[in-house]
Symmetry: C2
Subunit: 215 residues, 2 copies
């Protein structure tokens, strides 16, 4: 049995975007059984830090193995299932997982921070220049194919589509129709729908931390 | 025989920092034979784009496989050699490779761009807040160990040390002595010295592109 660890609670604007969604999605695609447990999001704990030196989520437990970093967790799960990584595609799946995280998200996240969290339009405009160059290149890739590896859905598409999803949701893929269509195609999959609904339900059922509820 | 593809020429300030160094370093650690070829850096070509949709380097050829993204290339090479990835540590090596690229470099690169390329001190100061939080956390990790995985040097250390190296070289690890000592320890390895010297020699031997030489 796998255990995915996420936060006990997050503010409403983060719901649907916490990265445990990527791990839930992968498990749903592969039919892997899992349960979900939590660490506190507001009063972060030494126990959390001992497993995750950056105090982030998600983490995965698989027997004795405790793993963090969504990309590494997905590549680990992919070893278990052809649904996530067809035979002999490990190098190519890894290539696109890392492209999503180090080439696309690297320039999308500073834009997201400026635009969404800091509401700093000048900084967002500046950040969008580097981001848009990557989006233009990804759009060109996706004009030629539905999925990134082996003409079929793989773990690489979970990460890439979920890196592009908040950009899409904020309207910034308007000039990149193949990338927008890719996000729509990926998130139409039943496994995404289940993972997304389960994450929303998890956070909706959570009580806000006492320190916030009192304020 | 492996072929590492890098640029034909880069300006002096980039020499010693082009990411083919990470791949050369890995090959030197593992004793893997390789040759180096090039793509033009100034007039980027359709042939380059066909192999690397983001027009970056390095790329690796290994038989019929053409691979990009330094992290993916290193994880691919690591499958060939215990020197890069001891048995049964794939998940943990992958975790730290991705931490370096998506958790540390993700916040270090915007700082590097502001500080080094744009000389924008206000933007650099702002970017340093998020970067320093990650550096503080990495420093805490490195207070407890010399290397990231299995108490010995692995491919994860190539990526993490090389992500931290330009930060160190610009003086920004002064408050993070364990991280600074880690960079010093990693770059003291003969395989790094060979890879670094070879990259410098490669670019020193290169003629600048005609379009630049004429200006």
């Amino acid at each position: 049995m796998l255990t995915i660890t996420t936060f006990d609670w997050v503010p409403e604007m983060a719901r649907g975007y916490v990265r445990d969604l990527r791990v839930r999605w992968a498990c749903e695609e592969a039919g892997l059984d899992y349960r979900v447990d939590t660490v506190p999001s507001v009063s972060r704990t030494p126990g959390h830090l001992a497993r995750q030196p950056f105090h982030q989520v998600p983490m995965l437990r698989d027997g004795d193995l405790s793993l963090f970093e969504t990309g590494a967790i997905l590549l680990h799960l992919a070893e278990k299932s052809d649904a996530l990584m067809p035979e002999s595609t490990r190098a190519e799946v890894t290539q696109w997982v890392i492209s999503a995280l180090n080439t696309v998200e690297l320039w999308a996240l500073p834009w997201l921070v400026a635009r969404f969290f800091e509401k700093d339009e000048a900084a967002a405009t500046k950040a969008s220049v580097l981001m848009n160059e990557r989006l233009r290149q990804m759009n060109a890739v996706l004009e030629g194919r539905d999925w990134l590896v082996a003409d079929r859905f793989t773990a690489a598409d979970i990460i890439m589509a979920d890196v592009l999803r908040p950009v899409h949701d904020l309207g910034a893929l308007a000039d990149f129709p193949a990338a927008a269509a890719y996000v729509t195609r990926a998130t139409a999959r039943p496994a995404f729908g289940k993972a997304h609904a389960d994450q929303l339900a998890h956070f909706e059922a959570a009580a806000p931390p006492a320190s916030l509820a009192a304020s």
